[in-house]
Amino acid sequence: MSARVQSLAFRGWWEDRATSAREARRYARIFGRNAASVAGLGLVVTFLAIALVGPWIVPYPEDATGAVHLDRKLQAPSRAHWFGTDEVGDDVYTRVVLGARLSLQIGLVITLVAALIGVPLGVVAGYVGGPLGEIIMRVTDVFLAVPALVLAVAVVSALGPGIVNAILAVALVWWPGYVRLVQGKALAISQESYVEAARAVGVGRVRIAFVHLLPNCLSPILVKASMDMGTAILTAASLGFIGLGAQPPFPEWGAMISHGRNYLPTWWWYSAFPGLAIYLTVLGFNLLGDGLRDVLDPKSRG
């Protein structure tokens, strides 16, 4: 008897697995049909791989930590220096590759901090509502009424320049997007009949918020996070370019372009290659985000 119950339980478990595996295969098929999504995934995977193994594949690892080789400064791209060298003789290829790891960290920290602040506030505003929700949404509106870069510059001008301050500044102005997204979603879901049913059988508000609302908000959050990785990297690089972000010798792409700018047009490679790296990275995350949206959240296509 107990063996039969067990086997039934196993069958149930197995069928669940099989369904989710089938679901995953269906998602993969939809995703794979779109060449742009696949290209985006390829770019992101390449970027992640470079960020992970960077220190072991670059020819001159010491060039990212402030080494000076004046004997080989401002050399054109060659076999020894694929992307040329900069004004202190550092290998631009090495610095661009190691910049991937830095950009990944910047993007992850900004996106995570923004989501950790924005998502709970969005759930409160959308589900709990009331005066508290109203206040949250009005503050969000004010933040969304100014471009993120402008507010970030204001924050950095108060904190002083530097990479940590730049990351902090962008993270501090990035969360309102998540509040707006989650609030709308939570509001819509809280009208659904299964939430109604949960409420009717006496499930607590906190439990409803975390067990029923949040998991159903995950898809759009994931799509936004993917897009934001790219945009956050771009914004942090913009601060680096202005001179308010990373300072030398950090191999930060925006700061590299800013320094290379003084060596145009003769020594074009100094600012050309870091820019290409930013472009491909941001492009990858954007295309991946588009692809994920088509699969996970097809209703909100734009």
């Binding site: 009005r138 402008v150 108060a158 202005i242 047009p265 074009w268 954007n286």
Partner: protein, 337 residues
């Protein structure tokens, strides 16, 4: 309709006050010492104290806020810590340049983006569609400051077709101000050489700044047009024998324009943010460059001023967009009134 507009203006005032609070908190409450930052690393404690007293930074925060807000109501944005200039005067001098840059960029983005999105939707999956899609994904991913530098590299430095930066050649005299908008003033005064020089200087910055906006306007318009072209009323219009161009341009575009208009309003705001980068690259004497230079010397008073001006402009643009909806869609007009 009047009541609707009045309500919206009221909301705008509240938002602006919120923005004032936030920028004030950012620049005064964040642990940091603006007086020390502005005095520079070599300043003695006495110098920092003097500066602090001079700018009222030693007074309670509430009092500082009241003083600043009162000043704003009189059109006084405070004094720059570095240059001792009145920020309001600086803003008045630089803002017209930014306004010209942003307006030209937005116009270019609309004039190219909307028809291209339309063509892309009508000729879906042909070469024109493929190219405009490449443009639309690239536009938002390419760093504007890098695109600007590369345009300078190729077009200004290698080919020598256009000037590198600035608003006019050093030898060109500014037209006598009427509107303080350089290109407009040159036209009104009939100084065609100045106008030509100004336009030549404007090409690269305008193209750089418009690219991300063009990309997203194109993208939204294409998606909306594809959606609209499948609606029953379009099929009906076609079935009744209306020509292709007329159906697309008159019936479909009008409906596709509503989401596109939202994007245009949004992009106007982002463009104001983008001016910080593009004006830095092209040495364009607008409020973006002013904000960047002030931020680099930790001079927070002008940065606050620029933030408020950009915020106000963005809010006004959103108001215009909402009024634009009502014009495009009569149903919204009724609910709004």
């Amino acid at each position: 309709m009047t009541r609707y507009i009045a309500g919206r203006v009221l909301v705008l005032g509240v938002l602006l006050f919120g923005l004032l609070c936030i920028t004030f908190v950012i620049s005064h409450v964040i642990p940091g010492d603006p007086a020390r930052l502005a005095a520079g690393p070599d300043a003695s404690d006495a110098m920092v104290r003097t500066l602090r007293a001079q700018y009222g930074l030693d007074r309670p925060l509430g009092a500082q806020f009241v003083v600043y807000t009162r000043g704003l109501l009189r059109g006084d944005f405070g004094l720059s810590l570095r240059s001792r200039n009145a920020v309001a005067e600086d803003l008045a001098r630089f803002f017209p340049n930014t306004l010209e840059l942003v307006t030209l960029s937005l116009l270019l983005a609309i004039v190219v983006g909307v028809p291209l999105g339309m063509l892309s939707a009508v000729y879906r999956d042909t070469w024109i569609d493929h190219w405009s899609r490449v443009m639309s994904v690239s536009g938002v991913a390419v760093p504007a400051f890098w695109l600007g530098l590369m345009l300078q590299l190729v077009i200004a430095l290698h080919l020598g077709w256009l000037p590198l930066g600035g608003r006019l050649n050093l030898t060109t005299a500014l037209p006598q101000p009427i509107t303080h908008l350089l290109l407009v003033d040159a036209t009104l005064r009939g100084e065609w050489a100045t106008l030509g020089d100004g336009l030549r200087h404007a090409v690269l910055p305008v193209v750089t700044l418009c690219f991300p906006a063009l990309a997203s306007i194109l993208r939204v318009n294409r998606a909306e047009m594809i959606e609209t072209l499948h609606q029953d009323y379009i099929l009906n219009a076609r079935a009744q024998g209306l020509g292709g161009v007329r159906v697309v341009a008159k019936y479909a575009l009008r409906n596709a324009m509503i989401p596109t208009l939202t994007m245009i309003g949004l992009r106007y705001g982002w463009m104001l943010g983008g001016t910080l980068l593009v004006e830095s690259v092209f040495d364009w004497p607008g409020i973006g460059l002013y904000a960047v230079n002030s931020a680099l010397s930790s001079d927070f008073v002008p940065v606050m001023g620029v933030t408020l001006v950009i915020g106000l402009n963005f809010m006004l643009a959103n108001l215009l967009v909402d009024l634009g909806y009502a014009w495009l869609d009569p149903r919204l007009r009724r609910t709004a009134a």
